[in-house]
């Protein structure tokens, strides 16, 4: 009856209606937009703390992001390692309408017992302004970006699929109706959010990954259970479709996938 576990669980806590208090849920949205690899689960914990505890069941590693009010300079980032979490607030005095990250961990240890993850890290971002209905302050926005990069480096990157080198994975195919087909390995490694922009330069089709469909761009739609994807490139090619298989290569300097349109003899 338990939901499936995951390798990494990233939870953002806080209230989106209260300015900097919403930094946790907003950070989770940014991660969602850049695309998360298999095994990483994102949770918008909002203000439902007891349920954050239940979400931890079966996760190998847990990362919690929340706002803090210590009196430090706004935007200060605290990384509270697992070892420091040995001393948690006592369970008495908990309240369903006033549940914080430390309560959530204490409660999870009680409710989940042996199923409670042992690898838990908490990032706290010092809030500047928690007025109702305000946006994130500049200091907290900068701190959020910093925490995103730390989470990406330590927790997400190791989960990302390796760069494909197998020729079969780098082979792409133009179809007569104007789609470009990419292998699952290629699209997962290079286009984690499944969105791209494209242009034709020097007789090559360039595709650059985007973060999230909100920015517009071309959607990489899944076309089979294996996870192979297709995107519609007819308009980029002015309706001249070089039907057939091509070998794509990754241009590290430009961060672009480049596909020669003419078949090399």
């Amino acid at each position: 009856m338990d939901p499936p576990g995951c390798a990494v669980l990233i939870v953002g806590c806080g209230n989106l209606l209260r300015g900097d208090d919403g930094v946790g849920p907003l950070l989770v949205r940014h991660l969602w937009e850049r695309g998360m690899p298999d095994g990483v689960k994102l949770v918008d914990g909002g203000t439902a703390g007891m349920d954050v505890a239940f979400q931890m069941r079966g996760a190998e590693k847990v990362v919690i992001v929340d706002a803090s009010a210590t009196g430090a300079t706004p935007g200060t980032v605290y990384r509270v390692p697992g070892g420091e979490l040995a001393e948690l607030p006592p369970l008495d005095g908990l309240h369903t309408h006033s549940f914080r990250w430390d309560h959530a961990i204490a409660f999870a240890r009680w409710a989940l017992a042996d199923a409670c993850p042992s690898d838990i890290t908490v990032f706290l971002i010092e809030a500047a302004n928690v007025a109702f209905g305000t946006d994130l302050s500049p200091d907290v926005t900068a701190a959020m970006d910093q925490v995103i990069e730390m989470i990406e480096a330590d927790y997400v990157s190791p989960m990302r699929p390796p760069d494909p080198t197998d020729p079969d994975d780098l082979a792409v195919q133009f179809t007569a109706d104007g789609y470009l087909r990419l292998s699952a390995a290629l699209s997962a490694a290079r286009f984690p959010a499944n969105v791209a922009v494209g242009a034709v330069r020097d007789d090559q089709l360039w595709l650059l990954p985007l973060r999230g469909p909100r920015s517009g761009g071309l959607l990489l739609k899944q076309r089979n259970p294996a996870g192979d994807r297709a995107l519609l490139v007819r308009e980029l090619l002015d309706d001249v479709i070089p039907t057939g298989v091509r070998r794509a290569f990754w241009d590290t300097d430009h961060g672009a996938l480049r596909i020669p349109l003419e078949q090399k003899k």
């Binding site: 009856m1 430090a72 605290y78 008495d92 990250w101 809030a127």
Partner: protein, 535 residues
């Protein structure tokens, strides 16, 4: 990265704070004031925004009943934009609203209410040791399964809504989901597990249908003694304990009730309108006041600000509602004492009076006359009201009674989904309109009023069950429902007035509330304690 040893105090996060002041004379509460200590102003955030902003903002008002907020804000837009709702969409909304309430029933009972039953003031009861064994926080034999299994129903919500809490998947014209057969099968399995492992095994000690066969107070008493399983179930024990320590004797409240109802018969609400709402409801709406039922009409709702920290002294209908805060220091000079407004309802022949919202109000509506075939028609709590009167005990039992009832409904709605049909009809986004959406959160009627002008929100008012119940005195100095319910409570030990905890908790308001008890003669503060904490 800061590498310092320091005490990191987390940001307190509460839906709001409530101070309750009571005066005690000769062991009895003689007056009470409920003071909401926090200005929130969601209505101000929403003004001038896109009409659909309420779908995102209002579910964040509460971490407990965000799904209920979404449900009523979607219906407010459905009525304002005159949408079409496919039957599947109505069913999914019903299922999710019910699952949020099914989560809340055991969680609130064990984690908030039943803990008070282990208070040392009851040590002389012969049932005390058993109460502690079952309900002591974290270690009680019933506490653990009740609290842990309470997480199950919202897993069903997440299957349809993508996430719980704070989903925004209900939109005007339907719901944003495309459930598969395996989603529905999994939902059924989760609900069955919750029903088998908590509802029947721990709470009832009998089948759901056996409990629901109780139609009178005598039926309930006979049910308790019918067999050992029922006698020793948490429900059987709870009834025996309440009668033993007298929780059936106080906390009556105003005795007048409001339910706006919830859950719709899909075929009767394909084109949602304000006027067609009552007839389409499954969980009925209704007013019960001064011994008479009348039909609920949103046009009769007013919010009074005479004793609230807002400009003015009058009462306005929410379509014309204003939220203009003033300095509380200035407000106190004018006799104002709370950030909550006082919702009042114009009952025919009785004028604008306070009404209690919540499970007992729903049960009174469910026992009213003229139920249609598709509607809840349940005489049990009208019988209890007439025979033993409202009290802390009856209010609790009303809440618990809804678990088997809503479980059954939810199972039926899951069976009615037609996965080949649509879940959404794209609406026309009219530039102008007025809408009303409402539901029953676990703790009572929750409603939105929206006025759309020039494609933007001109006015938005949210009236919560907490406001109905904790609102302060009105322009006629009539006490709000909780204020009223506290008056007359017997206090055995003024230094530890657990009785006040029972009364305040029995309304399950969405606030952390601190009670200050004062001696009526000397004005000395006798005690101060936080109600509503998990211990």
């Amino acid at each position: 990265m800061t590498a310092l040893d320091l005490f990191v105090s987390p940001l307190g996060r509460v839906e709001g704070d409530l101070d309750v002041r009571v005066t005690i004379d000769d062991g009895v509460v003689t007056s009470a004031w409920t003071e909401a200590a926090m200005f929130r102003g969601f209505e101000i955030i929403l003004q001038g925004k896109d009409p659909q902003a309420g779908l995102v903002v209002t579910p964040r008002i509460c971490g407990i009943c965000g799904g209920s907020h979404l449900y009523k804000s979607a219906y407010a837009l459905d009525t304002a934009w005159r949408t079409h709702l496919p039957p599947n969409a109505t069913l999914v909304r019903n299922i999710c609203q019910a699952c949020e309430t099914l989560q809340s029933i055991p969680r609130y009972f064990y984690a908030l209410f039943a803990i008070d039953l282990t208070n040392k003031n009851y040590a002389k009861s012969k049932l005390y040791a058993e109460s502690v064994r079952r309900f002591a926080p974290y270690v009680g034999t019933s506490y653990q399964p009740g609290v842990v299994l309470s997480a199950k129903p919202v897993e069903v919500y997440a299957i349809f809504g993508g996430q719980w809490p704070h989903s925004s998947f209900m939109v005007p014209g339907g719901v944003m989901c495309a459930p598969t057969l395996s989603d529905v099968t999994r939902s059924i399995a989760i609900l069955e597990h919750w029903k088998d492992e908590w509802l029947e095994k721990h709470w009832l000690g009998c089948s759901v249908d056996r409990w629901l066969a109780n139609k009178t107070w005598e039926d309930v008493l006979e049910w308790v003694d019918e067999n050992e399983a029922q006698y020793n179930s948490d429900c059987g024990f709870f009834i025996r304990f309440c009668l033993d320590v007298g929780l059936d004797k106080y906390g009556a409240g105003v005795g007048n009730y409001l339910a706006t109802g919830t859950y719709f018969e899909p075929s009767l609400y394909e084109n949602p309108t304000i006027d067609g709402r009552n007839a389409a409801l499954i969980g009925r709406s209704g007013i019960f006041a001064d011994g008479k039922w009348s039909e609920f009409d949103q046009a009769r709702v007013r919010e009074d600000v005479t004793h609230s920290f807002y400009e003015g002294t009058g009462a306005l209908h929410p379509f014309q509602g204003e939220t203009i805060p003033i300095d509380p220091e200035e407000g106190r000079k004018l006799g104002k004492y709370s950030w909550a407004k006082s919702p009042r309802y114009d009952v025919p022949n009785l004028g604008h009076i306070p009404l209690e919202a919540g499970p007992l109000a729903r049960r009174m509506a469910a026992g009213g006359p003229n139920a249609a075939g598709h509607q809840d028609n349940d005489p049990l709590f009208v019988d209890l009201f007439n025979k033993i009167g409202p009290s802390v005990f009856v209010r609790q039992l009303a809440r618990m009674h809804e678990a088997p009832k809503y479980y059954k409904w939810t199972r039926e709605w899951l069976d009615q989904l037609n996965l080949k049909e649509s879940f959404y009809t794209k609406p026309i986004e009219h530039a102008e309109g007025m809408g009303f959406g409402s539901t029953e959160a676990a703790r009572g009627s929750l409603s939105d009023w929206i006025v759309i002008e020039d494609n933007k929100i001109k006015n938005y008012q949210v009236v919560t069950p907490t406001a109905w119940n904790i609102g302060p005195r009105d322009g006629s100095d009539v006490l709000g429902p909780i204020e009223n319910a506290l008056v007359g409570s017997p206090i055995v030990d003024p230094e530890d007035p657990v009785e006040l905890g029972h009364v305040a908790r029995s309304f399950d308001s969405c606030l952390v509330c601190t009670v200050h008890a004062y001696d009526g003669k000397s004005g000395r503060e006798l005690s101060k304690f936080v109600i509503n904490g998990m211990v």
